[in-house]
């Protein structure tokens, strides 16, 4: 075993990702390429400065204005919990909470959220104690491969808040009632923006019910 191999073995996957991101930040070269997606030969536009409050911490970023919120989190702040699945708002893996409301972070520009508070999966736990939604996903095995899980959990936290505020859904029988009961059908409709390719849906529904304090 040579020196390089032993070095890699000691590093976790996350360390590799975070180190890679830091190196990228230091060189500053590939940022425009990351933001641009498709190849663009034109010079990058002038950078903009964005102040974001992420998981309770202020961050000041200088970004190519094309940078999506998802890429700002993952590539500039090494917050890789939010996942890039489709990058087109179809899968929900990138779901984060902005001022408490769930959105797809891939379909918004970081610069549009200057001054706003963002909660990602990294910000849900209370130090060593998992958020009740995280704990319920673990207990009910609400995942298989885990790629969609951070989006599912952020989405579920946002969904319960919407439900508590009386938000109806497409399957709500009577729109004139102030709040619909969270049945399984309601939970599934309200979570339809989060796709799970492993089809862990029954366990996801059970986990959400437990976190909502309902019988599972």
């Amino acid at each position: 075993m040579n020196e390089n191999e032993s070095f890699q073995i000691e590093m976790s996957r996350r360390t590799v990702i975070e180190t890679g991101t830091t190196a990228l930040l230091l060189t500053g070269l590939p940022q425009a390429a990351l933001a641009a997606g498709a190849v663009d030969a034109d010079p990058p536009p002038p950078s903009t400065t964005v102040e974001l409050q992420i998981n309770g911490h202020p961050h000041s970023l200088t970004l190519d204005p094309r940078t999506t919120l998802l890429d700002a989190l993952r590539e500039h702040l090494a917050l890789t919990g939010s996942k890039k699945g489709c990058d087109h708002g179809q899968c929900g893996a990138c779901t984060v909470l902005i001022q408490g409301r769930r959105i797809n972070s891939c379909l918004t520009l970081a610069v549009m959220h200057d001054g706003q508070s963002i909660t990602t999966i990294e910000g849900l736990a209370d130090s060593e104690n998992l958020h009740p939604m995280q704990a319920a996903f673990v207990e009910h095995d609400g995942f298989q491969c885990g790629y969609c899980t951070s989006g599912q959990i952020c989405s579920a936290v946002g969904m319960l808040a919407e439900s508590r505020n009386g938000m109806p859904s497409y399957v709500t029988e009577d729109l004139t009632q102030p709040a619909a009961e969270l049945t399984d059908v309601e939970i599934r409709e309200r979570m339809s923006g989060n796709i799970c390719r492993c089809a862990a849906y029954p366990n996801i529904v059970a986990a959400i019910k437990q976190a909502a304090g309902m019988p599972t």
Binding site: A36, D42, P44, P45, R102, D114, P168, M191
Partner: protein
């Protein structure tokens, strides 16, 4: 994504003045625009962010209607108690669209301006008269399962994807705008979206730099409100056919009916001839059939979407039966 200059508008006048410049685009929710920019279907040279403008209120109008600010998010409009009580068809249509995450971001004005989901419009390697005028239409002889059967032209058979706009069409909503010179204008929703004709790239009657500021809803007409959406999966899919219906009936007799359909044309399709067939008519299969025939007059399939003609007929029968049950 192509490079652009980002500007944040402080006032509506500033936004309209910035938006009139060639290559400039307004961004609000951005859920459709950014998707298209990633694919380089849209390549604006400047983005004018209007999210900080004070256009996010829902207010009562003196005549008993509602005025909905252009930046009211789809989820907030759907959940508003006044909309749920008095404009059920609109709340239902909004909740039928997209996912909760997208509804939290998407705006009232942006929903009206969203682009078609025609596969060929999205694929920049294919001809498309809407994206690249004069290049041809790949959908005419291509995969056209999701495409239009009404109001098509030999240039374009795309559909408008909005659910919200279909309900607003049934409600006779009005679109309020302002231009760079500060002049306000009111556009009836019937005249807001355009059929493709020879210029499928021109989708609305908005002029360059003109910005939607609000949508007003007249007082709700009497009757049962239904929004029925038929799609390939139970949630989070665009309509193959949708029907917004407001039907006032009693004991098997229809007093008045309003019908608007989605998934069938480049604009929300109102059917006044069908409504005439239903006015003061018996609520039975014969009048439902007459109404469906009137809706589908001139309908034409293109192979993959032929099924939409009988599907529209069946959906209309089902909705009319549901709304006249009492």
């Amino acid at each position: 994504m192509k490079a652009f200059i980002y500007q944040r508008a402080d006032t509506t006048a500033h936004a309209a003045a910035a938006a009139i410049k060639p290559g400039a685009k307004i961004i609000a929710g951005g859920t459709n625009l950014l998707d298209l920019m990633k694919l380089q279907v849209e390549t604006p040279s400047a983005l004018v962010d209007i999210n900080r403008l004070p256009l996010d209120k829902i207010e009562e109008t003196p005549d008993g209607g509602l005025r909905v600010g252009a930046l009211v998010r789809n989820s907030d409009l759907a959940a508003d108690p006044r909309v749920r009580q008095r404009y059920g068809v609109l709340s239902r249509a909004l909740l039928a669209g997209a996912s909760a995450q997208l509804r939290n971001k998407a705006t009232t004005g942006g929903n009206l301006l969203q682009r078609t989901r025609c596969y060929y419009f999205y694929d920049v390697t294919k001809p498309c008269n809407k994206r690249n005028p004069g290049s041809g239409c790949a959908a005419l002889a291509g995969f056209n399962r999701i495409h239009a059967i009404l109001g098509t032209s030999d240039q374009c058979i795309a559909t408008h994807p909005s659910d919200m706009a279909v309900a607003m069409r049934a409600l006779d909503a009005k679109v309020e705008t302002v231009n760079g010179g500060g002049e306000a204008r009111v556009i009836p929703i019937a005249e807001f979206h355009r059929l493709p004709g020879k210029t499928p790239d021109i989708e609305t009657s908005l002029k360059s730099g003109e910005i939607i500021t609000a949508v007003t809803l007249p007082p709700p007409p009497p009757g049962v409100h239904v929004y029925r959406k038929v799609r390939d999966r139970a949630s989070y899919a665009f309509a193959l056919v949708s029907v917004a219906a407001i039907v006032d009936s009693t004991r098997g007799r229809i007093r008045s009916a309003r019908l608007a359909l989605g998934g069938l044309a480049q604009k929300p399709w109102r059917a006044p001839q069908a409504e005439e067939k239903l006015a003061d008519a018996a609520a039975n299969t014969a009048s439902f059939t007459a109404a469906a025939n009137a809706v589908l007059e001139g309908a034409r399939g293109f192979g993959g979407n032929d099924f939409k003609i009988p599907l529209t007929r069946r959906t209309l029968h089902s909705v009319l039966a549901e709304t006249t049950r009492t």
